[in-house]
Structures are given as structure tokens and as C-alpha cells.
Subunit: 150 residues, 4 copies
Amino acid sequence: MSQVLSAEIEQRVRDSFARQGFMKKLGIEFRSISKGACELAVAFDESMTQQHGFFHAGVTTTLADNAAGYAAYSVMPEDSTVLTTEFKMNLLAPARGPELIARAEVIKPGRTLVVVRADVFSVGDGVEAHVATMLATEMCLMNKDDGPAH
Amino acid sequence: MSQVLSAEIEQRVRDSFARQGFMKKLGIEFRSISKGACELAVAFDESMTQQHGFFHAGVTTTLADNAAGYAAYSVMPEDSTVLTTEFKMNLLAPARGPELIARAEVIKPGRTLVVVRADVFSVGDGVEAHVATMLATEMCLMNKDDGPAH
Amino acid sequence: MSQVLSAEIEQRVRDSFARQGFMKKLGIEFRSISKGACELAVAFDESMTQQHGFFHAGVTTTLADNAAGYAAYSVMPEDSTVLTTEFKMNLLAPARGPELIARAEVIKPGRTLVVVRADVFSVGDGVEAHVATMLATEMCLMNKDDGPAH
Amino acid sequence: MSQVLSAEIEQRVRDSFARQGFMKKLGIEFRSISKGACELAVAFDESMTQQHGFFHAGVTTTLADNAAGYAAYSVMPEDSTVLTTEFKMNLLAPARGPELIARAEVIKPGRTLVVVRADVFSVGDGVEAHVATMLATEMCLMNKDDGPAH
């Protein structure tokens, strides 16, 4: 269902992403957003690892969860904010570097709940390996600011 | 099912935790391990946030996933390593600071698959709020080193 | 969080259960309902089996899903109906007869979404074995009739 | 990844399906199997309903779970049997009659664990509506008979 977004909605998503301290800490890069789809990426670093030296499942999940959230947000009305209510993650293969990419796509754009699938790929030498798949439910909260709670 | 662990298994779990670069990066603290149970904690910081200023779901999930993995590892035989195969996370309430605690407990210690529940609480002024619950499947890999792949 | 329900809410739940043709087909028995908790049971029969002769996962899931839905419905306001939006099921052990019991408990009674845990036990000779655990999200639809759509 | 199966593996899957009493009870029809993919269908009947008169989530889940299980079984070696270890189901829209179809596809054919996606569609007047999506983990048990336990 991906289509080009209006400049306003694209800006709204990018502003929200920029407010997330955790994106900066992990160096997650915003790659693209369109109607119902989002792509994020992150580079490998020793500080991202689990005990076997691969990307930690927490990194893989953060990447997929955020891609899913913004794919959902791109189909939500103005004056709303997005909240992840739940997700399931299947880890399919070791998440190696040098880069991890998450691609999320809305599969059901409901009024209150938006269901999204996100897939994570490790990329090296131009080859992609499918390392994880997520199924997530995102909630639209109307008349709520997307910024910090006061 | 929690009981005291042997010193060897406790050490094996703590060594594995120490090898995870991502634990250092997030400042996650190893609180306790017993047979089938594990507790981890992390302190709030601006660099851990999502767009509304709460802990990012990626932090909450990392904490729960790691507690679940080590709770499972505590019931696995020697000469094995642990791998998260999948989990589902329900985010129940905003994860506020100053501290987040994850408590994991094995609910089915199978030979190959170990099913674990992990709950995450935000702690402030001595009061705990239940902010997330995870249901995870951990896999036991026999005759595999828990250290880096070569 | 279980407490006694008002007679009206108990009746609303029992009426809803009675409208489900699938409960009759499987012979599922309504055992009890209280505020935030529900118990259902079903007897073994050859017509309920998977290929190894145990209860089919579809039976176990139907039982857990319905117990979860009614536990959630018991905490929802009048003039509402309940809808399962998603669940995850972990099958822990073979579900043997002669009887299967599901016990559901609300873990987060939100205004729109109610998160519920349901556990399924096989019962024989007075001994219970834990055969499955479900984590479910139920949605409250306001000003909607719980009866058939027209 | 779908390809034609050998006659032996197709027969193994069909024999396993035929041993499931629950398939007969629900009138579930075996539509097709190929390497890594399976399609099942079921017709609407009043005895299949939830309280609003749609297919019960238990029917939708049974259909998806079985399609997922046999898609997985089609990629497993001889002398093995298949077991569903867990799944997550998202219910996307009311499951109306007259017919429900589940299509499952293996997304990761591991040696021990096989991850499968299954989608359920309601079909009427030649139009398909996407009503549910499942993400499941199937386990391969080696040197185990697929028939009844003794």
C-alpha cells in the first residue's frame, strides 16, 4: 500500500523520530517513509552486541518496532500520536553486521489499531539475509500531542 | 520454581552477561539469578527515551528479553548456550523513570525449548507499576560455546 | 483482581456465551466468572483431536481465547461489546483428556484495550498439568450490541 | 519458496491431516500442499460462530494453525513429526462466510524450528478479504511417529 506522503506528514514523522533520545544513542538512521511503509537502518558496533558477538535482539527489536510505529503513524490522522501496544518478534538468523535494515509495512490500517509487519535484514557485500520478522499492533491516540508529556 | 544456583552456573550466567556489549551501553545492572528466575534493572536517562519522554519500548524489551534469556539459561545443562527464538511483548503503561526492573521466571523448562514469562516494572518512590509483560521461547543449543563465534 | 460480579454483568457474559454456536459444537462448559477472571472447561472426545490423539491446538486455543474474552468483558462498561484483537499462545505440553480447563485473568484493564493472561490445564485423576499459556489483547467497543450484526 | 512435493511427502501430509478428528468435526477441506506452502478451507455454518454471528476466532485459528503446521511439515525430513510450539494471531476484520481460506508459507525452514506465516481470507462473490494473520513456530521432532501416542 505504499504511496508518497504529503510533506506535512513526512515532517511530522521525522520530528517524532528526532525527539527519541534512544535513536541517537543507537545511531539509528531514518532511511525513508511513505504511506504505510518505513525503512530504518543501523550500523554494527561492538557496543550493540549480545554474547556471541552478533547484534543484540534488543537492537533488532528497537529497529523493527520503530519502523513499525512510523509506518503506522504515516496512515494516522493529524492531531494524533502513535503508541505501540504489543508486538511479537521471531529471530530467524544471527544478526550480523555491517548493517541492519528494518522495513515495515502496514497490513491493516484500522481507525484505532493499525497492524504492521516489519522485517529485519542484515546487509553485507550487497547481500541481504532475513534475520527477524515482527508482527505489531500500533494504537492511534487522537487529540494527543506527539511530544513530551508534561 | 526459584532455588539457589550452584556457583558455577551463576558464574556462567554472569560471564555471558558481561560479554554483551549492549548491556554496558545501556548501563543495565545484573541484580540476581536463581534457578529459573532472573532480575535486571536500568536507570532512566534522556538517551533512553521515545518521543513522549518515557523509556523507549526498545529499552523495556531489551531488559525483559535478557532477563528471560538468563532465567532460561539457569536451567540449561553445562556445555550449552541460550538463544532467544521469539517473544511477544505487551506494553501496559508508560515506562517512567527513575528505574525499570525486569523479573523473569521460567514457566516450562523443556529440554530444547524453555518458555519464560518476564514482567517489567517502573519503580519510583518505592512504588512499582507494571509496565510490560513478555512471553518468550528460549532455545538450548548443546555443545555450543556461549562466547563469540569465530 | 477477582471479585464478585453484579448479577447483570454475570448475565450479560452468560448470554453472550450462549449466543456462540461454536461453544455448543465443542461442548464447552461455562464454569465461572468474576470481576476480571473466567473459567471454562471441555471434555475430551475423539472428534477434538490432532494427529497424535491429543486435544487439537485449535480446541485449546478456542478455550483460552473465550475465557480471556469473557474475563475482559467482565471489566467493561455497559453498552459495550468485546472483540479479541490478537493473542499469542505457547503450547507447553500435550493436552490430554479427560478434561481441559482454561483460567483467564485480566492483567491490565485499560479503557480501550484489556490485556489478559489465560492458562490451560489438562485434568486427570485430580492432577492438573499446565499445557498452554496465552497472552491476549481484548478491545472494548462502546455503544455496540453484543448480539448478531444485521 | 513453493515447489512441487514428492508424492511420498504429499501423502504423509494428507495422512496426518486425515488422522485429525478435529478436521472432520469442523469440515475443514484440504486444498493444496507444495514445498513450504499449504492451503485449507472451511465453509460457514451457524455452529461455527461467535456471539456476533461471524466465524469464531477459534475456527480461524484452527484453520491457520493447521495450514502453518503442514506447510512446515512439507519441508521436514522423513521419520519426523511436526508440533506447533507457539503462534501469534492478529484478527484484522470480521470473518464472514460463506468460506474461509488459510494460506501458509514457510519463511524460515530451520532444522529444528520452522517459522511460518499464515493468512486467512474470507471469500464471498469471488472477492477475498484479509481477516487474520498468524506468525507461528513449528518444531521438527526426529524419529517420532506422526500417529497416535501409545
